[in-house]
């Protein structure tokens, strides 16, 4: 790694996911970036809005369309040091979904005796505005 990385710059990375998961592969390749990014010790959060909320729908099974079922990978986000996954409430509601439709994602909190905690935070548009504006690096997939 270069000198600058060794100097320990920590930026807030926000991965903004606005696309549905199977019609295009942006979701799958976007997820790959987030997992690789975990190795860089940055502050990483995920945001799901617009059709991106469909990425987190529980019960996805791609067997019959013959594509890779990467939805299981979302469950690994917590293991990759992603501690915050934000889902915009308005995007869910407009699509007739609620938090109960989403796959349950958790992480183990090392500061709290490795207790399993929910990773998903459903937030308002106003809160999402704030989350976006407080991030340093925005990656859109």
């Amino acid at each position: 790694m270069s000198e600058e990385l060794q100097s320990g710059i920590v930026k807030k990375f926000l991965y903004i996911n606005r696309r549905a998961p199977h019609g295009t592969n942006y979701a799958q390749e976007g997820l790959e970036v987030a997992l690789i990014g975990a190795a860089f010790d940055q502050d990483v959060a995920m945001a799901y809005l617009d059709d991106g909320v469909f990425q987190l729908k529980a019960g996805q099974d791609t067997k019959a369309i013959g594509t890779k079922n990467f939805s299981a990978t979302y469950r690994a986000l917590g293991d990759y040091d992603v501690k915050r996954v934000y889902v915009e409430r308005e995007s869910l509601e407009r699509r007739g979904l609620s938090e109960d439709d989403l796959m349950p994602l958790v992480y183990e909190d090392e500061d709290d005796d490795w207790e399993e905690k929910p990773l998903i935070h459903v937030v308002s548009a106003r809160e999402m505005q704030q989350i976006i504006s407080e991030s340093d690096v925005l990656l859109n997939f």
Binding site: R18, L49, A125, M128, Q129, I132, L138, N140, F141
Partner: protein, 100 residues
């Protein structure tokens, strides 16, 4: 923050999402097919006008010209910039969000 929108609002919801999730004081730059959102007589003009109340809205002149849209056809208050202006906006604002 600089928000970049490159989709026609008549096809995709990027402009609408950008309007919903950008804060007062930010700048919205319309490029590529996003420039169609600035048409004064188009249905997206209301979104652009609402944004203009507390945000700067710019449109990339090169993309307007390519699409045959004369500057007098765009919503009043929207500023036309060129690529050099795009770079300047990216320098002025501490981060860039592309609403792909």
């Amino acid at each position: 923050m600089l928000h970049v929108v490159n989709k026609s609002p008549f096809e995709k919801n990027c402009l609408e999402s950008c309007a919903r999730l950008s804060q007062a004081g930010s700048c919205i730059l319309l490029i590529e097919d996003g420039v169609y959102g600035a048409l004064a007589d188009g249905e997206a003009c209301e979104v652009v006008q609402t944004c203009l109340e507390d945000r700067q809205v710019c449109v990339l002149g090169e993309d307007l010209q390519a699409r045959g849209i004369e500057p007098d056809r765009i919503v009043s208050g929207v500023e036309v910039v060129d690529y050099a202006g795009f770079v300047k906006l990216a320098v002025e604002h501490p981060k860039v969000q592309s609403w792909l």
